[in-house]
Amino acid sequence: MSPKKQQVFTPPHSPNRSRMVFSGLVLMLILFFILDLFLGSVSIKPGEIIKAIFNNSDDTTKIILTQFRLPKAVTALLVGIALSISGLQMQTLFRNPMAGPYVLGLSSGASLGVAFVILGFSADLSPESIKGFGNWAIAAASWTGAGLVMLLIMMISSRVKNIMTVLILGIMLSSAISAIVSIMQYFSNETMLKAYIIWTMGSLGNLTASQLNVMLLSVLIGVILSLISVKMLNALLLGEDYAKSIGLDVRRSRYVIIAGTSILAGTITAFCGPIGFIGIAVPHLARIIFRTSDHKVLIPGTILAGAIIMLASDIISQMPGSDNILPVNSVTALIGIPVVVWVILRDQKYRDIF
């Protein structure tokens, strides 16, 4: 138990504090977004960037900015938002602080969906060669993959109450899925395999304009679903019995939440590859920042915090001023893992397990 802190009177609604924190986060978001545009492998002076924005000239600076940095920054923004919300929704739905799209195998499920499309049908459907409908096919395949894993985890969580057991089963599940993908790779021809391998290396920077459109639209749908879920998520915090007794249609709300989570996590995996530890860590950061369990605050809170952290990870991964680029996956892991470790160590009840 944590030592008793001095009781400070705070009114039940403290809109002022929340409002201040929200404004602060919005400012930070804008700052990091601009920084992400300004910093990159090619160092460009801020003055030139501003000039390029207001100039119609087609110089290199403008091309770098509009063709590379802007799409990449927008991608980072969407990835941060989508993974963080999906993590928050999973943690509440499964009542498991250790839940996240990466650790519980949603990303693997989405990969399997993509593998079916790329390896199963045609190499022509690789992200590079197909526009429009192909992107939607890949997105839909990854939603299905992620959704099926969500349903499986839902079934497991309703039978197994121990948080760590669910986690281990999730890891088993994602290993099994990876094994299936490996077998599929083994039986694929060279062009298909190449297309798939390129996809798995996916990063924030390789998206075409049409892919970005698909992603933008999908994340928008996911965010809308998450806003619809706010009240349901609050009720589900109490567990199934209480949620029902205060009037929640638990079955229907599960479907809405599972759909939203699968769309968000699946879309990101489809276009950017598996990115770990954002989904699990950011909701905890939002809880620390806002000190609440209310999803009316936590959903917008994780949206902002997730976007900021992902933009920051992108800036770090570009190693401003140097020619090297770090894989963004490593940066998110190094940022996310300390948060996860802290959450595990903070709560005494998890210590029993080890």
């Binding site: 205060i246 369990s293 709560d347």
Partner: protein
């Protein structure tokens, strides 16, 4: 007369249990009973008989297998989840642990059936929440995280949540199970108060027969053969409670509704004296395994009186004095006399 106590909940031929696959697992045979407005009803029965299942069936958390269950004259099947939640509130035995949730937040979840799609708390909701919090005596804990509450405080917060739900019936599964004595009485007193001042119908399960008998307006006694319904006093006179336990192990006192564990009788002792000292001396002897009788024993214990401040222990062979019950009982035990 019949109109004043309106039946708010009633069931006829009710069969409860579980369905797993196509197998129907009936826990209890057809049950009949009814609850009036503003009644405090205690559900008693031994472990595993189906108390929780019955309460969960009332709250709509479990489907009934047969029979009918009506709430305010309408069958439970006709209620949607949200309509039902406005009629009946439920507190389970599960301890909820949610980090960062304050008492106010918990209680505000009780407003779930009454708020909009986003769950926005308006002035009416806020007033209901504050009222529920003050009614349960939780005002000073309003902003405390629920993970930092004691068991008794958390139980009161749960009651506040159900109170904010504004349902006429409150169903509580063992609300006093892991509470210390003072918290237990606080909760029972609160429940009693709510049935009187708010006309809430409260149905709770308990293992504490003494409390059930002294506080409840009505008792639903669950047995393998079915449900026995009645005021505790009626059931007492009918001798229903005696059949609850193994007579050889537990002795039921139909004067005050208390129970004592019956030990193997080692002998009979006559206790001479009166008042409180006689009462507790008898208790101690019973605990030590002796029957207290009126005359048919040669072994006697005299409790302190104005002329003598010590306990006297007399057998035909000897007479000893002690200055505490503890020493008296120890000596009798050591001698291990056979009467």
């Amino acid at each position: 007369m019949g109109n004043r106590i309106k039946n708010i909940l009633s069931f006829k031929g009710l069969e409860i249990g579980f369905t797993s696959g196509k197998l129907r697992h009936i826990l209890l045979p057809s049950l009949n009973g009814s609850a009036g407005k503003g009644e405090l009803i205690a559900v008693i029965g031994k472990n595993g008989i189906g108390k929780s299942t019955l309460l969960r069936t009332f709250a709509g958390l479990q489907a009934l297998l047969a029979g009918e269950l009506t709430i305010e004259g309408k069958s439970i099947a006709e209620y949607s989840r949200i309509q039902l939640s406005a009629k009946i509130g439920y507190i389970s035995t599960e301890i909820i642990k949610i980090s960062n949730m304050k008492v106010y937040d918990l209680v505000s979840l009780g407003r779930f059936p009454h708020t909009n799609w986003l769950g926005r708390i308006d002035t009416v909701d806020h007033n209901m929440i504050m009222e529920a919090i003050s009614k349960t005596g939780m005002s000073e804990f309003m902003n405390r995280p629920i993970t930092e509450l004691s068991d008794g405080e958390r139980q009161r917060a749960m009651v506040a949540m159900v109170l904010a739900q504004d349902a006429g019936i409150m169903v509580m599964d063992e609300p006093t199970a892991f509470l210390d004595i003072s918290s237990k009485f606080e909760i029972i007193q609160l429940m009693h108060e709510l049935t009187r001042s708010r006309e809430k119908t409260i149905i709770f399960s308990t293992h504490d027969l003494t409390t059930a008998v002294s506080q409840a307006d009505k008792i639903w006694l669950l047995k393998e053969q079915g449900l026995i319904e009645g005021a505790p006093e009626d059931l007492m006179l009918e001798g229903v409670f005696k059949t609850l336990f193994d007579d050889r192990k537990v002795q039921f006192n139909s004067n005050d509704g208390s129970f004592t564990i019956r030990n193997d009788e080692k002998g009979k002792i006559v206790v001479i004296g009166k008042g409180v000292k006689k009462y507790w001396t008898e208790k101690a002897l019973l605990r030590a395994g002796y029957a207290v009788v009126d005359s048919e024993s040669t072994v006697k214990v005299e409790v302190p009186s104005p002329v003598n401040s010590n306990w006297k222990y007399k057998t035909p062979a000897m007479c000893q004095e002690f200055d505490s019950i503890y020493e008296l009982v120890n000596c009798i035990r050591d001698n291990n006399f056979i009467s």
